[in-house]
Symmetry: C2
Subunit: 333 residues, 2 copies
């Protein structure tokens, strides 16, 4: 006989929580694999993302609902970064038997909300037991054939743009570790750290009209991610400290501007878009994307250096100090 | 500056080891996500599989080359079970910094051999640091539209068939834990445990000719997997102890027949196919599949019971004692 916590029962709970299959599915959860129908005239986007207890989240810091939302949102952000739309996802979940109760229910609640908000239904997955909670999410997306935005197309003279404001997720994490209280939940930076919203609509509009030459999402921090985009495009860049859109913080937090700047340059997890636009298209781009705030923070240059022009007019090479799992511990950094 | 062990360097090593991109790829490793082109007239198969140190393999028991081969082979077996062909895979790899040297090189060697043998190139993935080695593999496959074999189509009277011989992987694991010696590597059962070969060609032939009514792969053990197939098809089954094709063992191992039977009924990791065929098609099926050994071990029945007819003619309900991560520890079971 099966115990209430055997693998089949867990799979049934996941299926029940994540709801109905999308019409594009032949078969969802419960067979050897999922069947999915790609649409004609589209390229398929494939991406996967780790979300591990102790590296990407902590059980004493992040409510299970947040873990559920965030594991799907961040994987989906890679689809947004290509200009695509998510179509479905696979969930690889490993957890201790002790977390199959309340924790898992909260987790599935957050995951369901993300799945609905991002129009990205569950197609399948794998479940096993482990002492720590391990999550790997694979997202399948689609983009009009030949329209995907890559990291490699930036050209000298292009404007370097970012969406939204930067550093909020990092400031939110720091606040959380410092104050460890549920009373903070109304803060904008905490919201950004807990429930990031991938820029799917913006990414699609930017690529559908061929407005960008290169694009990626900001997951590790501007200083690391800009370096990756420039390396892929074989170009350099100059950005201006004063133009970087800093995350808003509320008065009583007394966060100095230098801290906000550090978070904006090197903090990860914002899931905003970083992209390059030919200068003559900047106005057209602004008209096309509706209300999303976009800031031009610098321009693509020849050579391979990435220069930061500071407030006082001096310049320095931009230090690559974003998050790298092999160099940092996120919680203690 | 990047250290030799930062994330980018690891990704470069993985890319170099796994070789050239397949022609169906727009973009592979190194962008936000991979781009892949589905073929017209096909359904896409999506599957993912955990392979965790301490649950699915042990560093002191399984050479890194074996871990590399097996993590891809077992995920690909789910594609074979649907009658599909693998097209590409995503690798989610987390490991301690101490294993980024020799261990990772060995692992990538085994993975490359599997990738080539199974015609399943690497499309992308995610890499991070963790105290234990964590692997999740997502395989993308394709099958002719409407031809996928599901678990749910078995009908009363169908013959229940298995490919190959059963229990070998389990006996191999037990041998390995008991004797812990490299000298055993020539053994058939050890080979089966170390380097399983998914039945891709067989699965494709069986479905292309619509010979099977239901199919799945044997990953957790016949007793568990037959129960899953019957539950999905809402049928019962009778199988005969004397017909089960037991794994061969060499003389000096002195493994009793009762042990071989136990391994065949309840041992996991064989990655053979379990399928049902209408009785009138059994001969046609044998003709169609070429040299692969197939054994009819019983038949689908009405009701929902699964009965084992024993050697002495007595019968009993088949105990569901295959592997379940929430009930067993593989090494100590």
């Amino acid at each position: 006989m099966h115990s209430p916590n055997d693998e089949s029962s867990l799979i049934q709970r996941i299926e029940a929580a994540l709801g109905a299959k999308a019409p594009s599915f032949g078969v969802g959860i419960g067979d050897d694999a999922a069947l999915w129908k790609a649409r004609p005239g589209r390229d398929v986007i494939l991406t996967c993302d780790w979300f591990l207890e102790g590296s990407h989240f902590w059980r004493d810091v992040h409510p299970p609902d947040v873990v559920g939302w965030k594991c799907l949102a961040r994987a989906t952000s890679d689809v947004a970064a290509m200009g695509g739309e998510p179509r479905c996802f696979l969930l690889s979940l490993a957890l201790p038997e002790s977390q199959t109760g309340t924790w898992m229910t909260g987790f599935l609640g957050g995951l369901r909300r993300a799945s609905r908000a991002l129009k990205c239904p569950l197609a399948g997955g794998d479940t096993t037991r482990n002492e720590k909670i391990l999550i790997s999410v694979t997202v399948v997306g689609e983009v009009k054939k030949g329209h995907a935005a890559l990291r490699s197309g930036a050209r000298k003279g292009d404007a370097i743009c970012v969406s939204g404001r930067l550093g909020g997720a990092q400031l939110g994490l720091e606040l959380l570790i410092r104050e460890k209280t549920g009373a903070l939940e109304q803060d904008e930076v905490l919201e950004k750290h807990f429930y990031p919203v991938p820029r799917i609509d913006l990414g699609r509009k930017l690529t559908a009209r061929k407005l960008v030459t290169a694009m990626m999402d900001l997951s590790d921090g501007l200083s690391s991610d800009l370096q990756k985009l420039c390396a892929a495009s074989r170009v350099g860049a100059r950005i201006f400290e004063t133009r970087i859109p800093l995350a808003g913080v509320i008065e009583r937090q007394r966060i100095e501007e230098s801290e906000r700047l550090r978070a904006a340059l090197h903090g990860g997890d914002d899931y905003e878009l970083l992209f390059t636009v030919p200068k003559r298209k900047v106005k057209r781009m602004r008209d096309a994307i509706g209300g999303v705030p976009i800031t031009v923070i610098g321009e693509v240059q020849g050579g391979r250096q990435i220069i930061l022009t500071k407030k006082d007019g001096t310049e320095e090479p931009l230090q690559n100090a974003g998050w790298d799992p092999f160099r940092h511990d996120k919680k203690s950094s």
